[in-house]
């Protein structure tokens, strides 16, 4: 069958009767076909949990897509937009499953962890401990104590240091991911401005961590 254009998707999903049914079925097929790739780093399609998760994610995504058709702005292919929703639904579920037994208190009380932080671009590995770096962190802690609220400190430690997803931290703090990002942004901005007032740019601090 020829690929639907964005307009056809919208028109078919807005219509009634068999056209809509066929479009809904196609939508489910599209989502199900994409999920093994999207989740390749999380769950193998051979994993016994995969098919139940894929089913659940597909149903939830179809529901959200049909409820939000009017918010599609045509900035991408319709199917790409659908995938952004499916990915959000799937990863939310996987993060919840992965972290469900971890409380914020336990997480922050951990002495240390050998886990690497979640993969981020430009993170150069192999930074070694040194007195200078420890002093740097001590200074940063002091600034955090002075400038940040308790909530900001907790969120920053949980996300940046312990690697808990924003979504999971937000759930535990009784807020939403969007609001937590803003809380973290305000915290980072305060720290950056404070350090700059002290005469040090974060880039300069970073150089201490990079030199060996």
């Amino acid at each position: 069958m020829a690929k639907r254009t964005n307009e056809q998707w919208l028109s078919n999903l807005h219509s009634a009767g068999p056209q809509r049914e066929e479009a809904m079925a196609e939508l489910s097929r599209v989502i199900l076909a994409g999920l093994p790739y999207a989740l390749s780093k999380w769950l193998s399609p051979e994993d016994p949990r995969f098919s139940a998760l894929a089913e659940e994610v597909t149903q939830e995504t179809v529901m959200r897509v049909t409820a939000r058709l009017d918010t599609f702005e045509g900035r991408s292919q319709f199917t790409t937009w659908v995938y952004t929703i499916a990915v959000r639904v799937a990863l939310t579920e996987l993060r919840r499953a992965k972290w469900h037994e971890v409380s914020l208190d336990e997480l922050l009380a951990e002495k240390d962890s050998d886990d690497e932080p979640r993969e981020m671009p430009d993170l150069s590995p192999g930074v070694q401990s040194s007195v200078e770096k420890k002093e740097m962190m001590a200074m940063l802690f002091k600034v955090m104590q002075m400038d940040l609220t308790e909530k900001q400190r907790t969120a920053l430690m949980a996300v940046a240091v312990r690697g808990m997803p924003l979504e999971e931290v937000a759930r535990r703090m009784g807020t939403e991911r969007n609001a937590l990002y803003k809380l973290l942004h305000d915290a980072r901005l305060k720290l950056k401005n404070h350090l700059e007032k002290e005469g040090f740019s974060a880039a300069e601090i970073m150089a201490t961590f990079e030199k060996e």
Binding site: R75, D112, V127, R177
Partner: protein, 105 residues
């Protein structure tokens, strides 16, 4: 520059940075690799940043630009910046790209 840490701790400071209150209240020791990640986050902070929801709205467009070989980072710099700062959105972008790269069209 080379001795700046000395400057931080020894010089007269305009602020109360020498505050000697125990700083460890609720503050676990941070492994150096994590400290580096945190400082990078601070370093990258901009006055204006998009929220996760705003990025979610633009993510498909950004991903398709990248798939077409366009310079998505220059065309949508605030999205690029957010993806560099927010691990959740980054994971979602990577997962989306996995699908688009596997699709024939």
């Amino acid at each position: 520059m080379k001795n700046w840490i000395h400057r931080v701790f020894k010089r007269d400071r305009p602020h109360k940075i020498q505050n000697n209150a125990p700083m460890s209240m609720g503050m676990p020791e941070i492994p150096p690799s994590r400290a580096e990640a945190m400082i990078k986050m601070i370093e990258k902070t901009q006055e204006v940043e998009l929220s996760c929801d705003e990025v979610h709205r633009l993510l498909g467009e950004f991903a398709e630009m990248a798939m077409r070989g366009e310079d998505a980072a220059s065309l949508l710099p605030l999205v690029h910046h957010h993806l560099d700062t927010c691990p959740d959105c980054r994971e979602e972008y990577d997962a989306l790209m996995q699908i688009l790269q596997a699709s024939p069209d």
